[in-house]
Symmetry: C2
DNA sequence: CTGTTAGCGCCTTCAA
DNA sequence: TTGAAGGCGCTAACAG
């Protein structure tokens, strides 16, 4: 007699000699089932290797116990630990994590948004900085949404991340305290909220230290290594150079390091370089990168907690969750040595 | 009159003035529906914004159209592009990708294995090098499984990856041709299949070039940066040093680079360093890393194609899919300069 | 070409 | 404490 491909609740019920309702109860509300019955059921479950069909459960419960995380680029190491935090918190509460790589492609975003409409996911954690394409049309019945790392401008979506302005401030202050007076800011895309917040912090720190803001030292990048490289090249075309670079993320700082090294300069003797994020690789550059660390795993965990509170309609305090940043001082920053000093020696 | 939270096929049928069967047909077998009817249905779908409930579909079809990818560490940049390839190929064929981070934890593996038992996923792409924990007990009804990058020893699971032995061979040959006679092999965990295959290639290349294999130059690492570092330290404790390091992956090569630099050596003058994989960061080290590139995206795509052929029971040729490796020569390898040469200058 | 209907497997009222 | 039964939304077989 060939058994069904995979055991169902009916198989268990038959073997245990009870009804399927009792099996379901024994699993989900053990208190409502007589001790002896429960034992019989558990034995039958063990014997059959029964695992409830998640699809049937989802259909019935109108909940998939899955949360979708949308990231623009899964191969960007910055997101990895956040994802790890999201997953850890989700699994602690019995949820699974679905990871969606959007590449900022509208069609892909729309496809993933449909995951919630078709009940494949109960909520969305956004790390893309914007609502998924297609969200506007269905604004009225949008699933629970939370934004990690990058806030969603102009939308009421709970934000979990760091105080980017503050992070920039302490980074730039470090540079000023080392003696730097001309500090360049290598920004991400100009309209990006992270770029903007970090720029604000940069300007504030400069102001607090009584330093002027020189527009010529503020360059747009794109958060990529190549962007950092290019920014340096553009700066060298002009005649007035900074003594330090504050980069809006580590990738660009790495690009700056590379470009400077290629031109024969020694960091931090000739120039200081400061990043933001503290991606794992930052400690492996030459020299190791001084940077503003974001507690990525914690951000992920906090974002998921908030998300699940929303999904489960638990009371959750409004407003953003702001986690602390930390200045990690390594080898890429030091007192200004003067342009070309290392080469003169 | 408040509409249902989200439109169902019945809403569409009512509005279109047809039966739900016709709606389903209009969507899945448009050819079997009259032109006029189809138009009415499509209009109703557009009006309601109907999206089929994926859970109901899965329950009915016994297929979730989801494939689970199991990776030991999602924050390991090596896996990222593979995942990207998996996702691209999956979405081309109308499937979604579920990413599971196992950390080689048996409980986590078992949990994810259950995803297929509970119909959340139709198949598993393994990048962990072993069957998930709990697979042995249910061997008889295991879902379709495919192994990417790292073959599963002793199991019949289709493998998609590169010829690791060949990759090691061309890498080591490059070193020998540069003039190196004493080449260390920094291995991953000794029992790991990748470690073993690459060791075999290393020994073969040495043999082909008429060079002896010196057991003292073969060290176990663990595929981590720290592991590379440690290997160098262990080597320096002994008296006989190599002139070149062939590392079983890029992370360890980076560790070697770091350790050498810390000791004041210049690569590639004092030592040459060769990696394996060509992770994105390899071009950003000092000096840029020479390495054996794996076509990661292609591996991902091929693995997913194979997986879906299995899931859909399409004819697929047996045996592994082997993709080509490529030696990427950058700055970390050169002719041997002699121990301490750079320091003597 | 279209409608009726029987489940897919599960959970939860409602009665007993 | 337990069982019977309805229904979540969908697809496909069957009849017309």
């Amino acid at each position: 007699m060939k058994q069904r491909e995979t055991a169902t609740i009916e198989d268990v019920a038959r073997i245990a000699g009870v009804s399927i309702a009792t099996v379901s109860r024994a699993v989900h509300h053990p208190g409502k089932v007589a001790e002896a019955t429960r034992k019989k059921v558990n034995a039958a479950i063990a014997k059959t290797g029964f695992t409830a069909n998640a699809m049937a459960q989802s259909l019935r419960n109108k909940s998939s116990k899955m949360i979708l995380a949308l990231v623009p680029d899964i191969s960007n190491t910055f997101f990895a630990n956040i994802l790890l935090g999201l997953e850890a918190a989700a699994s602690r509460r019995g949820y699974g994590l679905l990871i969606g790589n959007t590449e900022n492609d509208p069609r892909t975003e729309a496809t993933y948004l449909n995951y919630t409409r078709s009940n494949k996911a109960d909520g969305i954690v956004l790390m893309t900085g914007h609502l998924p394409y297609g969200a506007a049309e269905v604004r009225q019945h949008l699933p629970p949404i939370v934004a990690a790392c990058e806030a969603i401008p102009d939308e009421y979506v709970p934000f979990i991340g760091v105080d980017n302005r503050h992070g920039a401030r302490i980074g730039v202050r470090h540079l000023v305290e080392l003696g730097h007076r001309r500090i360049a800011y290598i920004s991400g895309p100009a309209s990006n909220i992270l770029s903007i917040d970090r720029l604000a912090g940069y300007e504030e720190a400069l102001g607090q230290m009584g330093l002027p803001v020189d527009r010529d030292l503020i360059l747009d990048g794109d958060f990529s290594i190549e962007g950092g490289r290019l920014a340096v090249e553009r700066l060298f075309i002009r005649d007035s150079l900074p003594t330090a670079f504050f980069c809006a993320n580590d990738d660009m700082a790495i690009g700056v390091l590379l470009a400077l090294s290629k031109r024969g300069f020694i960091v931090p003797v000739d120039f200081s370089v400061l990043g933001f994020d503290d991606i794992p690789f930052s400690s492996c550059t030459t020299p190791p990168l001084t940077t503003v660390r974001q507690p990525r795993r914690l951000i992920g965990e906090a974002a998921m907690e908030k998300m699940l509170d929303m999904v489960e309609r638990k009371p959750t305090n409004e407003g953003p969750v702001i986690l602390p940043v930390e200045l990690i001082i390594r080898g890429s920053t030091g007192a200004p040595g003067g342009f070309g000093l290392s080469r003169a020696i």
